[in-house]
Symmetry: C2
Subunit: 346 residues, 2 copies
Amino acid sequence: MTQWFEEDARVVSEVHRQNALARQNQLTKPAGSLGVLEHCAVQLAALQQRDQPTAEKISVRIFAADHGVASEGVSLFPQAVTAEMVRNFSAGGAAITVLARELSADFQVINVGTVGVLENLAAVVDKRIGAGTANLRVAPAMSPDECARALAVGRDAVNALTPTDIFIGGEMGIANTTSASALACALLNLPPQDLVGRGTGVDDAGVALKATVIGDALQLHRAHLNAPLQVLQYLGGFEIAALAGAYIRCAQRGIPVLVDGFICTAAALVAAQLNESVRAWLLFSHASAERGHRLLIEHLDVRPLLNLDMRLGEGSGAAVAVPLLRMACALHNQMASFESAGVSRE
Amino acid sequence: MTQWFEEDARVVSEVHRQNALARQNQLTKPAGSLGVLEHCAVQLAALQQRDQPTAEKISVRIFAADHGVASEGVSLFPQAVTAEMVRNFSAGGAAITVLARELSADFQVINVGTVGVLENLAAVVDKRIGAGTANLRVAPAMSPDECARALAVGRDAVNALTPTDIFIGGEMGIANTTSASALACALLNLPPQDLVGRGTGVDDAGVALKATVIGDALQLHRAHLNAPLQVLQYLGGFEIAALAGAYIRCAQRGIPVLVDGFICTAAALVAAQLNESVRAWLLFSHASAERGHRLLIEHLDVRPLLNLDMRLGEGSGAAVAVPLLRMACALHNQMASFESAGVSRE
């Protein structure tokens, strides 16, 4: 039986791509001189099936959850910070909330599994699957049912969106670089030493500990890491699964995705391995300073728009890249042609 | 006698820099995790002498002029395009005019020397010094008086600005990558082969021709290329001199400059060599696809914000980078602190 996440993404419009390419070559500039901005406009035209691509309506969904592996001491911050940051998102003081305001974005936080139940908070929806995942060093992070439910939380969040030009997923979860690194090691068949980075800022000993924890997990679960869905279940997190589900559903609904940094790219890798047709719908916003991100980017063979040494998560890098898409669309839609402006050609 | 362009730039506020650094370390994020955006906010706070740096009011000034060296066939486009593009700027169809509108920027074009006199055009000011420069392969591009007047056009344009958070200079001038490359070769003591690129898109033979033309010019004028002012006079252009004058005046008035790509960086190099104190006021927006830009950037020891393979000029790369500065300021000014948000620290 085909599962929902295996259903094909919407077909990309080659007609709109060709029309957009032709238009770019008529605009009053040397051919190709807007570089990556030209590619962005053309790709958005093809994805959105519009002659005038647009990046005005942005939907930001932050998935927050705790990780059992935090008990191994892999993060610089205490686990309480996940819930505290959900409150900070709600109050508007976090980086992503500032950026979402600047973009006039539709913003919501989805609690997929903080350790404790949270009070009612503005812009926060409770979809808790459990009190954090299990510690992946000693047990599967999720049961098969929990993993399926987490994927579905992401799907349902996208199903509930009003019309949207660009979707941004973000995450909050203390210790989630450890989970994402473990996931990436399993999916790319790489040793932890190649992938593990400093996360929120651990020192060399902290990096070594993360590598040991991940190495133990890969060894313990090795018989169950042969398919992306199992890798997600054994090594992932509720928020990472929700992100993967959201990305897949965006592709199925025809909503371009702007992928954030390391954690989100790991979720994008899961999504692309679960459903290859999702790939075309993923735009990559920035190269994170988190060490393993470079390897994910190389594997996916993509070139992120920005390289600003950001490593905050929350979807912040994707939000910062939105104005580039808006500029690309404005140029594509508003520039004069050589003919209309009476400018001589080469 | 000290010339106007040798007068010191405004002193940068170390107090504001230290306060801004301290604030960044209190915001609800892992220390340093906003990467380059943190540096931008801190630098703007120091330059603007504000606790809340801002990049809202943008002034864009495009300097347009023709180059005698165009007669050597170094550009893909006919010389008429300089004037045609001035009309396109005025009518709002060019890339920089689209971007300036998106930014709600104060926009003006200053004609420093198109070959022919132009009719009255909205948003275009006539400050023509001559009918283009002389062909630098066979004569000094400018007389000493013309060069001084072109520098003063830039200075006066900045003197006339209403209060401005960020200044962007742009340029239009068929064949000006040849002039800028010649200038850079002389200032950095590099052979033309290392610096010359494709400009608006010439082929290998075109690149070779540009290198020959520049080599001839460097040879012809070699006795006069010992100081930056002479290099500018013999090898520069009216718009390049005006840009250098504008950058210097911005630094003296305390207005941060966002430098565009290859031509503008060559002008910034002239400005910095004429007056070392200008350096601190120059922010670099993007790494151009024009080959020589990398060498200029390395020499200036700066890291541009963007790398999007743009090579259009007009100030377009700088305009595209403005939202990054706005995001950096919004994050700096609006994020909550660990204390105010009740978030635990590492």
